[in-house]
Amino acid sequence: MEKNRLSEFLIEKGLFITAIFSIVIILLIVSFILVEGIPAFENYGFFHFLFGMEWGPSRGQFGVLAMIIGSIYVTLLSLLMAVPLSLLCAIFMAEVAPNNIRKILKPVIETLSGIPSVVYGFFGLIVLVPLVRTYFGGTGFSLFTASLILTVMVLPTIITISQDSLRAVPQEYREASFGLGATNWQTIRHVIFPAALPGIITAIILGMGRAVGETLAVIMVAGNVVQIPGSIFDPIRPLTANIALEMGYATGLHYNALFGTAIVLFLIIGLLLLVANYIQYKYKVDIGGGYL
């Protein structure tokens, strides 16, 4: 009895300490980034930094607007392609495909998410860049090429998680719907999909997070020119690429400005999460509180 209590106590404290430890590490990293990044805002002006059009470290210009826009465009464009594709795929796998096909497809798609991004980037560089150059003109290094790569990279995330949430919809809802004489497609569309929607939104948020944060594969195909793209076939430089490309040689205010870029990236991701969570919350309420 006494012994049980003691081990219970130790396990509880052990878990507590581990949790505190990971939180402390995260806080340390965040505060380090803040400490290194804020001087850039102080010296250059926060809004000047945020909305400045010019990025020229050698000339002391640190405006990141073009990169913010680059990040947003590349994320949105890739989601625009990835979301419909992956939802159709998830619905097919969860509701339509016979068991044996599902058993093959699922591990294949899960493996896709384990491929390192440099491999995707390399594929983009060797295959997609020339294709885009041939068919759409320009150098081939572009917003569009980067979005294509990101689309492929976020597909597995969105498919896997949406599929799981579709499969988690209770069988009773299916039976109720079929019992009323609904067809397979009506059941999917009006019952299963809405019931799985909170999970599907989570899937899209995670996919979005991956797209905003992806660096290496994007650097390899995006062209990295600091500009607001006039068309989707123009090169862009997202925030992540900016940090990775210049980190190696940056000193002084330039060094601080790269940390400032990281803070902006933080803020954008935070904002996206906030919006997504709000939508998710609203949907949960809308479909009737059954999932709250």
């Binding site: 109720a176 079929f178 004489g181 009737g288």
Partner: protein
Amino acid sequence: MNRIEVNNLNVYFGDSQVLKDININIPKNTVTALIGPSGCGKSTFIRTVNRMNDLIPTFSHDGNVYLDGVDIYNPKMDVVDLRKKIGMVFQKPNPFPKSIFENVAYGLKVHGLNDDDAIAARVEESLKSAALWEEVEDKLEDSAMGLSGGQQQRLCIARTIANNPEVILMDEPCSALDPISTTKIEDLIHKLKNDYTIIIVTHNMQQATRVSKYTSFFLLGELIESDLTDKLFIDPKDKRTEDYITGRFG
């Protein structure tokens, strides 16, 4: 006149046989009760009648089930249409996580009714038939998940009768309900029996005597005895039926 005829029906899940050589006739516009101990195949039987078992990959059967003389397992059968004609109320209330209104309107909408006034009228009429209207008329837009178990079950009944089926299958519709809700549902069955053919599974023998005209006793996948309810409970022909209804096993 028989609405449903079942001839030599055997049902299997994988290798195990769950129903053995079932023969039964269900007359039109009457209530037939199915009784029997847990696991004897009552749910499986009624789920065979609206082809709900088709959803279970291991299901297979032989023998015939006829609805108005048509073999419902014939390859040309339109299963969607069949399930519209044969409504089902499940053992556990299973409203959709949608509003009360949407739950009842669902069947109407999937069958192509899109006149809002007509839908609203049918929803009201069905909720009234299911003795739920007065409790929910002010909160039709609220989630059905917020209703009590008994209200949810009556909602499921309303949803079923909104489709205007010819046959209603009820799988222990009162098993999770308090006596008041149970009485309401039994009253409802009395009201419905003139227009609908009803098959009700129940563990409650008083309930069988209260609501049904015919009763069938299942045991271990076999149909032991079918008769007029009054007769079966007072003077069963089979020893096993007698043992069951007098509470000696099951």
